[in-house]
Symmetry: D2
Subunit: 401 residues, 4 copies
């Protein structure tokens, strides 16, 4: 199945699955083993402890579901809510749309708060809904921290402030799929009740782990939540946690070892340095886009995402041609525009285990592709702008000083 | 996390996860890639075609869920049934018990047909229920083809015959987790409506794929089934199958390439030869158990399983000591007795990519462990009995003749 | 030993060892096996046949020594020459120097023909020596096709023409370490008697194979050559070739499988396309150097190397600072200046399995490093120049059209 | 090239290349890197220090040649001796024969002391030669510690005692290819001047490293030794050791990381425990051979090898049929009889990273093969004898207690 072989490396700049670091690939290159022997529980114990650090929580309880982000969503919702519960959910792009679709199919009553694609969550509407809800009919706020389709980062601390201001007890459920471990995310400080991510995003692993973290309040809610669930039920996990065997069903041994190494690498770099690196790469990308004379799909700076940039193309260009051409000519994988912005934007994912020169290679590729599809770009302009910034902001690699 | 390192190989004889062939480990040793590029759909297309062959179906529709067997169960049930539906389900061991627990939590009305652990499904009871159901209140029969906890294989063709005899339209849902690709399984011929397995069993992959195959009748049922489902919903898959992109959410690239190689190896050996090899290894194991003077947990020959053998130990021995000791002294991983048979049986898994000498090494290890825990075994007796049989029945490796 | 871990990929642009393609790493990810079983000879047979294609020979006999380029040199010399034999050898850089050192230590009488570092072999001197050698005291001409230290490619066809013009029977021994499989090389057409390369160069494998190819005339010479040799003796190999077992001592199984895949990838791309790709990347690199206002160490265009570019830095810069800084800040590995050009040049290796965007990433890294060490480079200038050229010359990837 | 695929694992019991532990394969699963960056020298430094431990030397100087055992032989000889030097060399099997052939081709004057194949070195002859050499014309004693072809281990301490008794200054050169890291070997205590091994033997790596360790006396001798050498010259290595860069030419990065892990595993188990494990497996094998009623090629217990057992077959059996059949039917790789014992013996290698159950699997395979080729073996007899011994002597795995 290597009929797609091209010389040299594939340049993977979709916003997930992302580049896996070599040590992680190495760690996963292994046989199966008995997950009921003492080895796997001992490993799992360290993972559960360490995974909390990337959520910035000390009080949360993590679950490592053998699933994807979609499954993690389902786990977050069904463990905390009952059919018919009213929730407020923000629609700002394709992934928030899909989550809302799931919420509706799971029979919650969803107040959809829609924004233009390219804008963040409309918190004014949220405020008004909270104000008008003295009896606390709203059971949960569902929000995507970073909308991967448009490159929009929402302000979670502002959401928390609103809830606090109205002393509203609604649960705060956060999709952190393209944010956690890349953007500033603080589960405890921001009072997030359920946060979740997928292994193939900023953790830089293969797909296969849906990581869900529940606050004590969310755990409490799970005791009475009436949504039907078995595979995604926290209860079964908690039972096995108590027994010290951890797994109600067979985990992927390989992903657990991969996660161990991924966390080790993140801690070696330092989580805050990882986040700074994402800020750096995000900023550089936006400077390149500006230099090309193109527009960021994200409409205001406050929403700029440091993990993915959606670039708006002129109307005479079909953005999927850019994606196809990048792959066919330069072995460069870019993200398509989805749904409402299909054909209008292409996306550069700059999250996960990535460095400056990888990004600059990508940006020079994008320039050549833009030229190929007829956009009058000055070759080198974006790279120059990005490099000027990176040249001033990139630190030495600590271990090599 | 290699604190459990012991010299030489781990001898993995739990009934899953099983030994992964080297070519499969090799195939999975790879980077992430964009699953929306043409490469992944093209690969997926071949997988869906070829996976049908191991289910022996031409009319079925397979789904490769990024989940485990437990998730595959859930997918089978929720896509075909509605809450309150009456189903008949056989309880013959820990895994059928867990499935029944799931069925009940998913709000089906379950007629549990219990057998002694060590016996197969009680088809006489099924017959009587079918006879007494002229109005077809029974919507589905749920049966585990091979109960991994007791080493019992049920006779699926007999179930089909009963359904046909009574012209009963109930769906036939089959857990083939420790059977498909190892035991004789014929989805179309036996009129199975949903069959499922997990990647870490006879397919000899890591955990992470729950493979579900639906008959046309099951697909039809899914259109009206009212069970709530999103992640496990066939509808989303079918929509993406039609579009030719195949994946409603991110698949595990690595497992797909691994599955490709696993299928290639199975087809190279020949599925029927794979099944014969399991018969051979199962028979050899039972001969060893007999030579040791121990009892098979499976009470009659008609139920003997060729993928796992549960061995009953004398009452003065705690079977978990055997499992612990095997791991601690001989780097041998055996299966524990579960639930009702905890402490009373240990299990030898002999499924997946395994050959004669691996099994004989395991059997000689079991002998030494039996001696260590105080059972008066004659060292070499079981191996001799197994080898006498294998020596007469093992074919030459075709590619090396 | 990952204390040198830095986020993202290492950008490997030394002129060897070079980037290994993922499929090759995958192929080498395997156990040992019995090299005396039928499998390894069968594999070896295909390798020996196919390796000839990359030397462009049908009459040559290849040897896959478990050694490095230095060992391959020794094999070439000791199998064809006797102590005291007169040879003409060109000194144009560090690697030709090292080969000459070896020639002298092996007790040949070496006529060293020296050029300035940055110039090619002085063929005028060769001509005069040939003219003055009617009795054929010169037994061999030793020439490095591509001097890796200075980025100078010699004109082998011109050497052959001289030998033919003087009807001189001297053997033509060629170091093709950084040329074969990357530059235009034609063993048969150019009458090369021994050609050699190392696995870690354009073949894009790990170090460990010294590949030597002997013409019929060289094989003939080996029958009477009196140089002492055992490990590197062709005779032992030829004996085992005849027996069909191929190996006088244990080969590296893993490298053989790696070579198989490396050759498959080269043939899939097409050897001529591989060479064109090197021309393209070499040209792009030189355009960048020019745009930066820096000098190529190679003094004339006729000698420009498409596998490595040695860049001369201004006298106020120590070139090793560039190399150190690139590694410490940008995870970029560049080549040091060696010996006479130490401190004065740094080298960009652009050979092996590499594509356009990888190179552009490297070039943008070099720009930032140049700025960091105080050279007044215009960021983006080199990348722009390279991209302008690449944008016009890079073909679509055939398998993806 | 997997046309030789057979289900399940290959059982590799040739006396090299041997089974590679999974953590070593994992460690080698990596990209090339710049060997001139600080990372590779830092790694090399630890390797050189740690490799001395497996030679049991504190005063020796190790060299990690990118070569095989044959190259390591050549390095030992050419660095310490001059053409025409008289050496005493013991011929006791195929590998000592090959080494003697090399010694003769390198132009030393070799006193060959021959024993029957199956006997150890004739030390009485050595004693007489030393007695008759008051002027010290003998420059070196060359001895294979463990003759891999016949499974004979020589008594090196006895050789040292003789040299000491006669105050003879001859160098003691030892081939430890199938002994070091498996048998009791003490370079310093036994006054060995050059010892050597290959990576694919007890170190359990792929082929590719010829490890040579020189005593101070050997290093001194190398200053005046006149044998021609370049690739294998210690001088070049010592020069780079002094510079702290360690490598006169490109090493195999992957093998260095593999060696690091291999040493880590050996130290984790404990070198003395590794040796005891080999004693245990060797003893078990011999007990099986005895139980089968077959003869050990090794004629006296004092020479029994704990790394390889050569088994003599009855005259009506061609031993290569056993080897072929084992591979074709049971995926079992055994060693052929070589040269004088071709057709008469087959060999079971039991060295490297191997445990009890692997060996028992092999032994039961050998039993079945013996039956297949017409030898009246009692199936289970050898396994029973081996297991009876192993059951009493195998310790718990320390990390799992």
């Amino acid at each position: 199945m290597d009929y797609v072989y091209g010389p040299g490396r594939n340049h993977l700049f979709v916003p997930g699955p992302v580049n896996i670091p070599d040590p992680v690939i190495r760690a996963m290159n292994r046989q199966n083993e008995d997950y009921r022997s003492p080895a796997v529980p001992a490993l799992t114990k360290t993972l559960l402890e360490d995974v909390k650090k990337i959520f910035k929580t000390t009080t949360g309880t993590p679950f490592l579901f053998p699933t994807t982000g979609t499954g993690a969503w389902e786990s977050a919702l069904t463990n905390t809510l009952s059919p018919g519960d009213r929730i407020v959910s923000f629609l700002i792009g394709q992934f928030s749309l899909l989550w809302i679709d799931q919420q509706q199919r799971l029979n919650f009553k969803v107040d959809v708060v829609e924004s233009d694609w390219g804008q963040g969550a409309d918190l004014a509407v949220l405020e008004s809904k909270l104000r008008q809800d003295p009896t606390h009919t709203i059971k949960a706020i569902c929000i995507v921290h970073n909308e991967t389709a448009t490159g929009v980062t929402n302000d979670l601390s502002a959401v928390r402030k609103l809830l606090d201001a109205y002393r509203h007890p609604a649960l705060l459920l956060v999709d952190g799929v393209s944010s956690i471990c890349a953007l500033d995310f603080r589960m405890d400080e921001w009072g997030v009740d359920v946060a979740l991510t997928g292994s193939q995003k900023a953790l830089s692993l293969p797909t296969g782990l849906g990581i869900v973290c529940a606050s004590p309040k969310a755990l409490e809610a799970s005791k009475t939540a009436k949504s039907v669930r078995v595979f995604f039920d926290w209860k079964d996990y908690l039972k096995f946690y108590k027994m010290g065997t951890y797994w109600p069903y067979t985990p992927s041994i390989q992903l657990l070892y991969g996660l161990r190494t991924a966390l080790d690498l993140i801690f070696e770099e330092g989580l805050d340095n990882v986040i700074k690196r994402h800020t750096r790469l995000g900023t550089a990308t936006r400077l390149a886009v500006e230099a090309w004379g193109l527009k960021n799909c994200t409409q205001k700076q406050e929403w700029f995402s440091d993990t993915v940039t959606a670039v708006v193309v002129p109307s005479y260009i079909e953005s999927s041609d850019i994606v196809k051409h990048a792959w066919k000519r330069y072995n460069l994988s870019l993200g398509l525009g989805l749904n409402k912005v299909a054909g209008k934007v292409f996306r550069i994912g700059h999250l996960g285990n990535l460095n400056e020169l990888q990004l600059l290679g990508c940006l020079s590729g994008v320039e050549m592709v833009l030229k190929d599809v007829g956009y009058p770009v000055k070759l080198g302009s974006g790279v120059a702008a990005a490099a000027a910034y990176l040249s001033n902001s990139t630190p030495l690699i600590p271990s090599r000083i």
